[in-house]
């Protein structure tokens, strides 16, 4: 019995480590499904910083597109504007930061092939602390953005309650 529980513990420990390194973990990543005529889309995710210091996402590259940039969409003087975040996107210490529609996102420009309606896109994320993660983000159609957003907001709260 003891052997089994030790084994389970180690399995759990190492499998968690496969997804998350000690400093950074990524959840709920997705790429916006795009029509075959589109060559641009965006990727979103929740990035958790498990350290006591702020860590910056410096880049997110994919072989599927000519260029990727870290962007912020925001309303400026009544105009919806996108701005490249050349300094990166900072994830504050011990917190989770969400890249989400009409806010911070990974801009995917010049898809080399039309995006399939399902499957995944592989990204390499680089962080200021030297950490690098390979991420397979599923391609999803956001049928009801408002609803999806609400659900995402509620989920972590429910999860916290269970703990």
């Amino acid at each position: 019995m003891k052997t089994i529980s030790t084994l389970v513990f180690f399995l759990a420990f190492f499998s968690a480590n496969l997804v998350a390194s000690d400093s950074i973990s990524i959840d709920d990543s997705w790429v916006r499904a795009a029509p075959p005529t589109s060559s641009n889309t965006a990727a979103y995710m929740k990035i958790s910083n498990h350290t006591d210091k702020a860590i910056t996402l410096k880049s997110a590259n994919t072989d599927a597109a000519k260029m990727t940039q870290l962007h912020l969409s925001s309303m400026v003087d009544g105009l919806m504007t996108m701005e490249e975040q050349k300094q990166g996107i900072e994830i504050p210490a011990n917190s989770t930061f969400e890249l989400k529609p009409a806010s911070y996102h990974i801009m995917i420009m010049g898809l080399k092939q039309p995006l399939p309606q399902e499957g995944t896109l592989t990204f390499e994320l680089k962080f200021s602390n030297g950490h690098t993660t390979t991420l397979n983000a599923p391609i999803k159609a956001a049928t009801s953005p408002a609803h999806e957003h609400d659900m995402k907001e509620k989920m972590p709260m429910e999860m916290n309650k269970k703990q």
Binding site: R32, N40, Q69, L79, M80, P101, M107, A142, T143, S144
Partner: protein, 201 residues
């Protein structure tokens, strides 16, 4: 009380209630007409449809409630959310209601949005969304008449790589062809649907 009154009183009360109801409805209608009379006519335009590559004028949709969104097909983040709201709203309508609602997507990027790209983009969110394009001058004129502001922001000073910053509103036009609202992009599909249904009922 005699039997006669027992019957007469409920009948009288019912008649009074009906009369009051009719009066109240007439009053509401009158008020509605008054407010609607004060509303500006939605600026008329004629643009090309991405679907049939034919010309289409706003006035052709008189009798329908119309929602207009201005954006561009290579928009990666914001327009997909906003057109997603329009698509989601259309899916919630009954087939009869869908017949009475028109959704227009007008490009603010006439140089790059070919009919094919525009069609692919607008159809992706709902087959009923009609993509519209025109010459840069025509688009500029329509945008100006609706108070829509837009400007290119170039990436790395490359003249071919740019985003379009733009106003993002849902313009609502009633079946009489009057501009009744410019809703913010935070509007939910449910709210948009309610507003449009109120216009066609």
């Amino acid at each position: 009380m005699s039997r006669f009154y027992k019957i007469l009183i409920p009948i009288m009360l019912t008649l009074i209630a009906i009369a009051a109801g009719v009066q109240y409805n007439l009053y509401l209608k009158h008020q509605e007409t008054n407010t609607r009379q004060g509303r500006p006519a939605a600026p008329e335009f004629t643009l090309n449809t991405a679907t049939e590559q034919a010309q289409l004028s706003l006035s052709q949709f008189r009798g329908n409630a119309v929602v207009i969104y201005f954006g561009y097909a290579s928009c990666p983040d914001v327009c997909p959310v906003d057109l997603g709201i329009v698509g989601s709203m259309l899916r919630k309508l009954s087939p009869e209601q869908q017949e009475k609602v028109t959704a227009l997507f007008i490009t603010l990027d006439p140089e790059r949005d070919t009919p094919e790209r525009l069609l692919g983009f607008s159809r992706f969110f709902h087959p009923k969304i009609i993509g519209l394009y025109g010459s840069p001058e025509e688009i500029s004129e329509v945008a100006r008449s609706y108070g829509v502001i837009y400007e290119k922001s170039f990436v790395d000073n490359d003249p071919n790589v740019y985003w379009v910053s733009h106003s993002a509103n849902f313009f609502l036009i009633n079946p009489e062809g009057q501009l009744v609202a410019a809703l913010p992009r935070e509007t939910t599909p449910e709210q948009l649907g309610e507003r449009l249904q109120a216009l066609i009922n």
